[in-house]
Symmetry: C2
Subunit: 313 residues, 2 copies
């Protein structure tokens, strides 16, 4: 008989480490409710200014709920995670953190935007913009097989900080299992984010997250895979997109250039400040790889949904 | 009074070159109908086998229609191209060409897939797959300012071979002008392509293309920009997506890994051959940059629309 668990919110860890004690043991088919704190773990609050960003202790970011031990899970199996429900709090934040982000050299910050999430379906925090609330967990992962303690920032073959915005409710994620019991944890909840997460943050939000877990034997995945039953951009398709292009011989440089051009567009057409434009790109603009074959120049394109902007640019 | 022109199909060129004689002179507001030949310029026909791919003369690919001289256009201006109508022929092809494509070292080809485009709204050519017909021009560009003659493969600040699949009918493209009259040309028409165009080709098709041109003074763009009024994936959203991830410290390697995993999935779940799976990725799977900030590992994800596959994987 599948059970419903509520993870005690005291089980929080700030590192990936396969020697951590399990917070909960579950069976295949069980459901777990997580009450997850926003990614600063209380260092940034509703009244914070950019000073709090400047002082952020990155060793106390990424409060992860878990680890969850799935009985009988063994290396070579897959942990299947059905994303049942994602319930964000009514406030969120996005920061520009010195040394972090795609354009950190030219737009270092510190800077902080607060988001009001109390008027669904959109988040308000930048004048003239209404960002669709599309919640997901930035981090879902299992313990790595390497011994030791690892900062959660980089994702890896164990999943982790993947920041894939299409892992929305009703999606199903499969993660390769590397240690007995899988040792699943999650956190870094976002109420919205563009593909790319260019300034380094989405709309960071505390969230109640309900997940169901299944053991899938011997799938031998090497990386995360998932199915989403949702359309990809249903909330923003109705008014179309403004698109800039980064044409470079390096994809990362192409991404930078596409975002630079989008920031220039948001400043010129809508009067946004440079920092607000960068934040808006991070939470609402999608980066696509348009082509990776037309040697020696590749194209990354940045897509701004026009429905996000309250007036015509 | 805006005029309607029909470009004489004899005006074809195979290089970007700002010394080419104009094929047609137009005024801002004029419309031009182009009858464009598929990208092999007749080297690949309805009866070709992979032999024709092996023998392809790349100096006779990219037959471009033009150049069109827009009266009064000067460097610093933008050429605005309204994409009015795209009418593909009823046959197309996709090739795997040795030395070309994202996975050219492990999947060199030569290989050729023919597509039947006569039963809209989908293209048939790989068993078990129905690819939505979503036509666009792979190449739209203006003459570069550098003197000389340049192969059309690499795109650049003049646009060109951008292979951006969302430049569909009712989109509006803006290209920076680099020489007097802009000297616009187009070609490389695709009836479908995924973001990335991973094997190097879309569904290559002859096409009647109707474009309207406007002169926009002194926009001083540095790269192509466009607006699309269309939803991005309306034809494929209804059944959701299967997604693989490439988590690497280099975006190009991440793209390769995501596509490798998608090929493995298409082989395992649907019984496709490795080469058919690679071709299907090129024409129907979209590459997104999921995150570019979680140092030192970035993620490129590959999205397969489940509606493309006739049965469940």
């Amino acid at each position: 008989m599948p059970r419903l668990h509520h993870l005690d919110p005291q089980y929080v860890h700030f590192r990936w480490d396969n020697s951590l004690s399990r917070a909960l043991t579950i069976d295949s088919g069980d459901t777990v409710v997580f009450d997850l704190q926003e990614n600063s773990a209380g260092q940034i609050t509703r009244t914070s200014t950019s000073d709090a960003v400047a002082k952020l202790d990155r060793n106390r970011t990424y409060p992860l709920g878990g680890p969850i031990y799935l009985r009988d899970a063994k290396p070579g199996d897959a942990l299947e995670v059905q994303i049942l429900k994602l319930q964000p709090a009514d406030w969120g934040w996005t920061a520009i953190l010195p040394g972090f982000g795609l354009l950190s050299e030219e737009l270092p910050g510190p800077y902080l935007v607060h988001w009001d999430l109390s008027n669904k379906p959109t988040a308000k925090g930048i004048r003239g913009a209404a960002v669709p609330i599309e919640p997901f967990c930035g981090v879902m992962g299992v313990a790595p097989d390497e011994p030791g303690s690892f900062h959660p920032t980089p994702p890896g073959k164990f999943g982790g900080n993947m920041d894939i915005r299409h892992l929305t409710a009703s999606s199903t994620l499969r993660l390769p299992v590397w240690v007995d019991g899988a040792l699943f944890s999650c956190g870094d909840c976002h109420s919205a984010q563009g593909d790319g997460e260019v300034c380094g943050f989405g709309i960071e939000t505390s969230m109640r997250v309900t997940l169901r877990f299944y053991l899938r034997r011997q799938l031998r995945l090497t990386s995360a895979e998932f199915v989403t039953r949702n359309g990809l951009t249903p909330r923003t398709d109705r008014r179309g997109y403004y698109v800039t292009t980064g044409i470079r011989s390096d994809l990362m440089e192409g991404a930078r250039e596409a975002v630079r051009q989008m920031i220039a567009h948001l400043m010129g057409a809508y009067g946004l400040s440079r920092l607000d434009a960068y934040v808006l790109c991070s939470v609402a603009v999608d980066l696509k790889v348009s082509e990776v074959v037309d040697k020696p120049n590749w194209i990354v394109s940045a897509y701004l949904p026009l429905s996000v902007m309250r007036r015509t640019g």
